[in-house]
Symmetry: D2
């Protein structure tokens, strides 16, 4: 499968210590491989002694056959600068697994957007610890896998089952209101980025029941946060956030209803940007180009 | 001084245990005193066994002379219901003192709005622990009082000085980025509501340097919160909040610059609503009509 | 079917020339029929000589059997004031038909919200001039009716077919990106409110291709507008509007993709409010309580 | 006067037909003049046969003495590509004249931001056709010039007076709610960009009294638009827009009050971006980097 309109387009991500001449070196490299730069974004964490981040999309007729030479040249050219780089044919969609529980609004929203052609990914599977969404997922032509949660604190068997399903088949994982906490062992073994949607405006209301906490505190805006998952619960690098206005008249149930709209909007943007290689992790921060 | 267009308008706030017939009793009372209800808002914290809150604005020709009889009737009518009430001639502006420090954006914004006729208050004084804003405040025709901060943890002398300036002259106090923490002793003695603007989206980033904390956490939205001050720092009832979008490219300085716009917008709305008797405190929550 | 939690709740809408004593008369009426007012909103278009609008929700044990007496009393009580009124058992869901074309994002969003219990309506049918959504609609258990568009300017036969399907079965109609213009003859015969979603921030970009027009004009925000349909295209009373930020980098296709999210959010709010009797038409305006 | 932190920083704007190798040529040029690229934004109006726009900020020790050689090199390097370019020492603030009338909220907001160091410009003068703001403007240390409006349709004498004041002293002009329509003759003679704030969400409500028109149409959001002034009233390239939510309960006066906050926020962002060379005109559009 190729993404329409992106044939022969590559995305090059470069990061490392900021220094003179990087842009020139990179642009000359693209030019000598007959590439045409279509878009270019860059960021320095600090003008002096900071880190440099760049995302370049270039068009190159016959990209597939040209990529090996481009990669070799990148290694040679960027090494003296101490830069890290990746280059990828962006007409090849990333493979995204979705993990879900009973709440299906984020899950279905992603499936719908995908079907409309609004998410440039493949979805090899949806894994849930419940079965209520099985029929809906199937109606989108996406394989549904049921991995029940383990009772008790030890989740190693169910996590192992999930890992086995994912192994070699996905480029990133999305937790679409998946209500199980993943162990650091799982995160290490899964080996691909994991994106979560938390139903509050982090760092406010970390942990369980954020809408109840929001009601108890009497906030006038509720929010949602999409972030990469790390071992520290709700502490990973934030990709996107948004809020909705509420009033004293809104019950906790109403906060949940409104929040559901914010959650799916925020998660869909984070997933879109990640699938387009627009998000670069930098410590506990993200750069979103 | 009277507020244009509000002559002979009263605002009646009623609260207490919800029960049948309250609205009818209150509306009949207004009608038998020849009042015409101009606006009416109500809220029940819970349809069953909850608390009832109502704000009624009514027009009554010759309000001043009618008020004593209305008040007597209110006492008699609402007593059986166990309700609390206040009634006020809203053409009489509330008296608002502003406390400020070196940062002047919130202070000047309030003074400008007041001069434009957009805040129905009187401003008997601005008190600051710095002198930089003295000339600006004077140019608005508002008395400026300098009460320097005390060194050390004991603030009782400077707080006593402030209390003496305020005594009997104000109906509420606004902390317009006033950078001193007020003691619970002060709050008890001042005897009027105190509104603060905190430069974060509470409960995120409580305490000092919220913009630095926001930068460190990598949030994608920054915010500001106007709340009533209680003994618990940054924990009082929230009146209003808002946010602004930021990106990885924004420095902490830029967050401060953008945040300043959110702060003054949020504070001005909270002050406006308080001055119009639109905000009712209910435990650690507010009802904003 | 009854809506959970709303059994024995009635919604009373009163409108007419503003005058003293209306609130008292209405509240006394509710009280003497043993109703308990749960929420009350009112608005005067002008404090002097304006129009008065009120929405009251009250709880009354055994509402169904009490309603005839309440209605008779309303007729007698409000007649002297020259007021118009309706009273309705709000635990009975309104019946909503959806008309759609090929674009399915608004249609599916409504169906999905309905399934989640977030829209208190019944959906007796979806009518489309295309068949692409037939299977999706069926999967929600909602009858799908295909009424092809007539070629040429005369739409009377297809409109007649639609009217026949709707006759007696619906309380309002939603045009969920239905791309046919309905004749004034249709609007007259259908006899129930018709809500449309227009894919621009009205009154900007009336008519066809608003996203292309938005791109051509170079706006920095795109929007969507839900409104009641009148004979004048895109000129009916506005119920709700919202916007999303765009930049020079967004293509018309991207505007459409982003706009789709705004459209479905705005339409779903308008439909929710209408279904809750929160929207009152007043000439070419709406009052939204 | 120099802007803190921007010493030795240049902003290079390049635009023209998109083609391979432009970025490499430009980056190599900066590198061979020992510049370090600090930020880089680019945009293509169309990946195939479109127009290319680039904004590069680079640091170069001893910029002032290096600029002539850089400019000569730019002419030689970019000529083969048919590109247009400008390069500017961005530590030198642009000179901004403000034209105002009686409404002072936009005027004072700009002056206050400037005083806080939040607008990197010099303000050589404020010109008004009224005198009410004279004292306030003076308090900011900015020269105030009164040029009364001419009665009747011929404005040539007053426009000539304004032109004489501006001649050679300003880099751009801001109309801060200046209520006179400037002739195309004036726009031609002034020879610098003119930015206007229109008090509606263009293209809705072009011309006079937009808040009254907004009230009459019953919109649920009001807006403001900052744009470059062209001969066609309210039709120039849009720089920035924003909106605020309103309800049926807001009078036209209230729309004006709320709108004033949107106007000053939108105008201040447009002015900031223009002063930082972030806005590029492209026909009737703007690219905002």
């Amino acid at each position: 499968m190729r993404i329409d309109g992106l044939t022969d387009h590559a995305c090059l991500i470069v990061s490392g210590p900021d220094q003179k001449g990087i842009v020139a070196a990179m642009a000359a490299l693209v030019a000598r491989h007959e590439g045409n730069i279509v878009s270019l974004d860059q960021h320095s964490s600090d003008p002096v002694g900071g880190d440099f981040f760049q995302r370049v999309v270039f068009h190159r007729e016959g990209l597939t056959s040209a990529l090996p030479a481009i990669e070799a040249d990148l290694a040679e050219t960027l090494e003296p600068f101490g830069m890290t780089w990746t280059v990828r044919d962006i007409s090849v969609p990333k493979r995204m697994a979705i993990l879900a529980s009973t709440e299906d609004h984020c899950l279905l929203d992603l499936l719908w957007r995908h079907r409309r052609g609004a998410l440039p990914v493949e979805i090899p599977m949806v894994i849930s610890n419940h079965t209520n969404a099985a029929e809906d997922v199937a109606s989108f032509g996406v394989p549904f896998v049921h991995v029940p949660s383990q009772k008790g604190p030890d989740k190693s068997a169910s996590e192992a089952a999930i890992l086995q399903h994912l192994a070699g088949k996905v480029d990133f994982v999305v937790l679409a209101r998946y209500m199980q906490i993943l162990s650091s062992d799982f995160l290490e073994k899964v080996g691909v980025p994991v994106i979560n949607i938390h139903h509050s405006f982090l760092p406010a209301f970390i942990g369980a029941n954020p809408y109840q906490k929001a009601k108890d505190r009497g906030v006038k805006l509720i929010g949602a946060t999409a972030h990469y998952v790390t071992e520290d619960l709700d502490e990973g690098p934030i990709i996107e956030q948004d809020v909705a206005r509420v009033t004293h008249a809104d019950s906790t149930t109403e906060l949940r209803r409104r929040g559901a709209d914010v959650e799916r909007a925020v998660l869909s943007r984070a997933v879109l940007w990640h699938s387009q290689d627009r998000v670069i992790r930098h410590g506990n921060h993200t750069i979103v180009f």
